[in-house]
């Protein structure tokens, strides 16, 4: 009877160790993906910053057109919410925290009477919202791990179409910002209209640059801003996708590291229990033999 318990434990230890092997492998893979994703973020930075700098200059060149195209709309009747998560699970709170933030945002906007159209990236998003009675209008799947610029372009096209057609007044993005390998935060950001880069930093910058001469525009600033807007949106979406994928791998690595550690602990405590069970079985057996021998001896003596 006691030996049966030992066998059960041995089988459990084996299964824990097999799981550990998987989680360890996933941890290592995720770790290597982090490095790659981070390198891609770094490679994207000059483009992103150059784009921001151009918009700042172009907005300065024609403040009136900038006011029309940039900035926060005063009244939002309909909005598109773009939500970026991963294609796979087993990544700790990465997906769920973005999804929950999106849901909160949607509920808030709805309470204010805003109509919501949902566009999602990542396999995990659409089922989550469907379960909550919210159908995603477009769902992009298959590139959350390793986004290419062409993907960003597709997403940007889908999200900007209702805005360009005048059906919505605002496009919001909920995604994970990759601040460093140790810190990622869920962030809600306005995609369209483009955030006016002069907002906030206005005073400080105005005195710092104080308009060094005259900037030429080819074509004129208004036309240029109109051409820049889609490019800037693509750039924003692309960097959000890149940061999302880096965050995904980071949080998967962390989740898998702790799962591996957990498996180690579990295997250790199971081994202890198993050893005690075996020891108990041996002790019981010895007791039985000894008491049997004792009984025989007493019988002889009597």
């Amino acid at each position: 009877m006691a030996g049966g318990q030992e066998r059960v434990l041995r089988r459990r230890i084996k299964s824990v160790q097999a799981t550990r092997k998987i989680t360890k492998a996933m941890e290592l893979i995720a770790a290597s993906q982090i490095a790659r994703a981070q390198a891609r973020i770094a490679a994207n930075r000059p483009y992103k910053e150059g784009m921001a700098a151009i918009i700042v200059e172009a907005a300065k060149g024609d403040p009136r057109a900038a006011k029309k195209m940039l900035g926060t709309p005063e009244k939002v009747e309909n909005a598109v919410v773009l939500c970026i998560v991963g294609d796979r699970g087993l990544s700790g709170a990465y997906n769920s925290s973005v999804l929950r933030a999106t849901e909160r945002l949607v509920n808030e906007l709805r309470a204010k009477g805003t109509g919501i159209r949902l566009i999602v990236v990542g396999k995990k998003a659409a089922p989550y919202f469907r379960f909550r009675g919210l159908e995603a209008e477009v769902s992009f799947v298959g590139f959350a791990d390793k986004p290419e610029f062409s993907h960003a372009r597709d997403v940007a096209k889908a999200t900007s179409a209702p805005f360009v057609a005048g059906e919505v007044d605002q496009v919001l993005l909920v995604s994970t910002r990759f601040i460093s390998a140790g810190t990622q935060t869920v962030e809600t950001k306005q995609l369209l209209p483009l955030v006016d880069p002069r907002e906030g930093a206005e005073e400080a910058e105005e005195t710092a640059t104080k308009l060094e001469g005259y900037t030429e525009f080819e074509p004129d600033a208004e036309e240029l801003l109109a051409a820049l807007a889609p490019a800037a949106l693509e750039s924003e979406v692309f960097s959000a996708l890149l940061e999302g994928s880096a965050s995904f791998h980071t949080s998967q690595q962390r989740a898998m590291a702790s799962a591996t550690e957990n498996a180690d602990e579990l295997a250790l405590s199971l081994t202890r229990i198993m050893n005690r069970a075996r020891q108990d079985a041996i002790t019981t057996e010895i007791m039985e033999i000894v008491s049997g021998a004792e009984a025989l001896r007493q019988e002889k003596g009597a």
Partner: protein, 169 residues
């Protein structure tokens, strides 16, 4: 001609294609060709699909094929913060940044691939043209137009690649 150099960079979202000092940059905007040398006035413009040529002292000119983008010329104390690091040696007072969503160094153009893409786009175009004249139900027209535009854009891109590599070789 030991004129001072400018810092030039050509960047795409995935990588920086060129980053270093140069004496002359030639490209074209929707309003015509332009070239930039050191001490050029600040400028922002769009770059139409075509070749950008970058010349530096004592080196072969670099040609990069750009499928549309933007150019910004700033002087060093202009507002182009963030593009400071690593841009060449020499005089840094003028900086040229070219942003392109798709670009490739001219010598890296994959000619066979461009030829295949051209043939494919032409076939698709011919196919679309013949079919769109026949079926014109109200729902399909928008899609057909979109496909047509896509095929035309693909064709233009392939032709641009081939043209550029023909000039080079």
């Amino acid at each position: 001609m030991a004129e001072h150099a400018m810092g030039v960079e050509v960047v795409t979202p995935e990588a920086a294609l060129f980053r270093g000092p140069a004496t002359l940059v030639v490209a074209s905007t929707s309003e015509g060709d332009f070239s930039v040398m050191a001490d050029h006035a600040e400028l922002i413009g769009d770059v139409v699909p075509g070749v950008v040529r970058i010349e530096a002292d004592g080196e072969d000119p670099v040609t990069i094929l750009i499928h549309g983008g933007f150019v910004q010329v700033t002087t060093a104390d202009g507002a182009a913060a963030g593009i400071v690091d690593g841009v060449g040696e020499g005089d840094r007072s003028t900086r040229v940044t070219i942003l392109a969503s798709i670009a490739e160094p001219a010598h890296e153009i994959d000619k066979p691939r461009a030829e295949r893409a051209k043939a494919e786009a032409e076939a698709r175009l011919a196919d679309l043209r013949s079919s769109s004249s026949r079926t014109a139900d109200d729902n399909g027209v928008g899609d057909a137009l979109l496909d047509l535009a896509q095929a035309e854009a693909d064709l233009a891109r392939a032709e641009l690649r081939l043209g550029t590599s023909a000039v080079l070789s």
